[in-house]
Symmetry: C2
Subunit: 216 residues, 2 copies
């Protein structure tokens, strides 16, 4: 049930810090081709020295029993990212893979490799530059929603029995009044329905996307 | 009242497309050190050939009369970005500058240059990798909120007279019921108050941050 981080770049320290901030007691295994363990003093972070795209190394990192894997972008080399995802998903089709690439044209290769979620680093920052220039303050909103150092963040809630069949507007009002959290969408299968219609009925397997100061 | 884009990288085409998608009739001036106009057929995009950090070029791009400037990150050279912001804010302190950098340690230099908004491209994608691995679907939510190709986006609303003095919860319910939009925060001066308390009263100069399919 651990989380594997594949690859090393200067973002990895921040990534690990953000995971630890969530207080989920999430065990982390880091695969990095570095001489020494970059986190020698942290018991929750286990270090495997090696190349992320190699099957043996992935096995050594316990990929068959892992819950999720983050594959970071090394030197904008999307090919290595694609190869790593392929090997991970082959070894364990149930793992949840989140991969970062630089060129959106490589999305198709990741999809073919059965990746679960893709971050195109260039695309997000372009969109954020535009919205911040047109609607000032947008980057601060997004930073608040994504960074868990303070304030509010985005979370997902498994739908409760009592909420099944309820209209979105009713839940929207209930959760803000009672729990001080803002529902902004529904995750249905693999789709996100942002800002659902007021009358949209919530189903048993939906998740609710919300903004709050901590996990409900 | 035009918007200046300073610098050229492979994201600029996307940036310009995103601006045009908003249908704001926003005139764009692009400063890029390229032989030819990259948008010869687009009347809304004017091309100035030159180096973005040079004062003469910025003047030629009409920096004194521009509403906003986006400074993109060229080859991860944050120094050029800082220098460009310095020159722009010197020439026109009223302009709204949004700058992209790669290394968060350079934030301080941008702040000293009076930048209005900073995008650290590495930081956003790290945060998004983490939240997507922990709360699956998060990257799709953020993509939906930032990309204006379809669905919903983030917007800012100038507070209406009738709304001044109202409690956040009342406005939150009113706007979802009546206009089908979700208020998620208040922009007060340069601060973002995400998910305000239910009793928080909206003030005259506040803006309301909301999610909707189109601008109200
Ligand atoms: Ca936060
Ligand atoms: Ca959208």
């Amino acid at each position: 049930d651990h989380l594997i981080i594949c690859g090393w770049n200067r973002k990895v320290k921040d990534i690990i810090q953000q995971i630890l901030n969530e207080n989920l007691e999430q065990e982390i295994v880091l695969i990095a081709n570095k001489e020494r363990d970059p986190f020698p003093d942290n018991d929750d972070v286990h270090f495997i020295k090696g190349v992320m795209e190699e099957e043996d190394i992935l096995k050594k990192a316990g990929v068959m029993k892992a819950r999720a894997a983050i594959i970071v972008n090394k030197e904008q080399n999307d090919a290595k990212t694609v190869l790593t995802v392929l090997n991970i998903e082959n070894l364990n089709p149930n793992i949840y893979t989140v991969a970062e690439i630089s060129d959106s044209r490589n999305k198709i290769h990741l999809r073919n490799a059965n990746v679960d979620e893709i971050i195109v680093d260039n695309a997000i920052s372009s969109q954020l530059l535009v919205r911040s220039a047109l609607y000032s303050g947008t980057s601060k909103v997004i930073e608040e929603l994504l960074s868990n150092e303070s304030g509010n963040q985005l979370y997902m809630l498994t739908t409760k029995k009592d909420d099944v069949g309820q209209e979105f507007l009713d839940l929207f009002i209930k959760y803000k009044k009672k729990d001080g959290l803002i529902l902004i969408g529904i995750k249905r299968e693999n789709e996100i329905i942002a800002n659902p219609d007021n009358e949209q009925k919530v189903r048993a397997n939906d998740k609710l996307v919300y903004i709050a100061g901590s996990k409900l």
